[in-house]
Amino acid sequence: MAGQEAQTPTHEILPLGQDGVLVRFARKPDLSALSAAQRFRAALAGQQHSEITEVAPSLASVLLRFDPEATPRSRIEAIAQKALAELGPNAELPAPARRWHLPVAFGADAGPQLAEAAALAGLTQEAAVRQLVEADLRVLAIGFAPGQPYIGLLPDTWNLPRLSQLTPKVPAGALVVAVRQLVLFCNDSTTGWRQIGQTGFRPFWPHSPTPFRLEVGDAIRIEPVSQTDLAALAPERTDGLGGARLEITR
């Protein structure tokens, strides 16, 4: 079985709390780890293991939650090992089933740290916005706060470090950047990332019948708007959509 072993993506099986097993494909985000995480998640979902109570994908890992009273950790690790051995290498993301068109205002009050972030990326503010608008972006993970997407991957020039001091508060709708990714905040939040833009879109809108709007794998296309236009797209006026449009691609 050496051939099959050689095809298994690089991974570590690690504990995450008393009821969690984390399968980590890489320590830093890269495309093959993203692909492995999404394919591993899909494989486990297809196998329907009753011992696993929750499967959640992140950028470079998949969390398997279990009930320690019913199932020992070793059983979950064995299930993961088997699925990993069958996974095979593939460095491509599955094609998106949906694409969101997302109005965003950049710079000035809507993005007080755009100038700083652009300078760190070696770009003018205009060129920075253009790169973001032209990027083929995906929802890579949902986390930190309800419905909140990690979006990427941005070109390598955007591999910006996090701030060493947390910014105490960015507003709901803030678009922030670090480590080749964008995050869109649902609520006022503390962050170590730089705020470059703002949107009226709320990825979690608890009053809606579909409170969680985004799914891992969704494509995102940013559409720049002026601050004046943004005001008209306030979440309260737009059922939390902020003018975002959902296109079904397959």
């Binding site: 995450l16 709390g17 320690p68 949902i142 706060a145 309800p146 990690y150 701030l163 001091q165 170590g192």
Partner: protein
Amino acid sequence: MTSALQILRAGPQMTVQDLGRAALTAQGLATGGAADRTALAEAAALLNLGQFPAAIEMAGMGGDFAVTQPMRIALTGAPMRAKIDGKEIGWNQTHLLLPGQRLSIGGAFSGVYGYLTTAGGIATEPVLGSRSAHLVGNIGRILAAGDGLILRQDRTPTAPPVRISPEPRFSGGPVRMMPGPQTGLFEEAELARFLTAEFVRGAASNRQGVRLEHEGAPFQAGEAAGLASDFIAVGDVQMTGDGVPYVLLSECQTMGGYPRIGTVVGADLPRIAQLPLGGRVQFTLLSVAEADRLYRTPAQLIAEAKTRVAPLVRDPSEISDLLGYQLIGGVVSGQDEEDY
């Protein structure tokens, strides 16, 4: 007949909390729920409930309350000054609250989070399977004076009062943690230094996490710096960029990029949540197998708490109040002597 808990005066951060919302990690919603689950288990044990109740969690200070139907209540978690109609009452025990009486809960003597649980349980509409306010997630809100919470009726308001010996957790002490996904990425010497340090609670602490301060140099993350954002477990000890640890509590984010040196086991997390200003904690590192053996289900936590419940002999002055109120079929078995 509907039963309600009326909030006459509200402390700065009173919220409804139960065990929170499980299995929404993929949607980015942390479980949330009570900062001190032991307090809910102890309330369930006191009121002889089969499962974890929704209770009012009071951070630092309580409020004033009244009921519309006779209702037993349990007071657990951080001990707070409590009175019924101006008369001091004991913590870690049950009391009968009658319509027209005013329950006043003041500041905490030690610890942080006190809990008021009603025997009838809170009957407000759950959101995504829980009644917990999740303020970070924009679910629910802080309770305010004038609010009324719908309760189920207390079926046995005349059940004799009981008390519980609380699990000690309101003044710091040793805290056990298990290895997490990034523990091995810290330098061994830095991990060792972390395990010998004594920490106090920082002011920037809340239901999301407790900031821990110590007298030594900030901790270096070593190889653990600059990682992809990854899943967080409740209890994770996160090292922010400036090398200061935060222990993440129930309302933490589900994912984050700062490395975590370990995960506090569930049994010891209330000790962190309840760490008062000036209290000190020190960490020990268990093996994964040792930590796994400490896991308890909610039902086991309640069963364990029930072994610490004992009858409470009553103050005769309370009994006169009770006799003055028409309890249907009420049989009062009271003795003197108050245990406080």
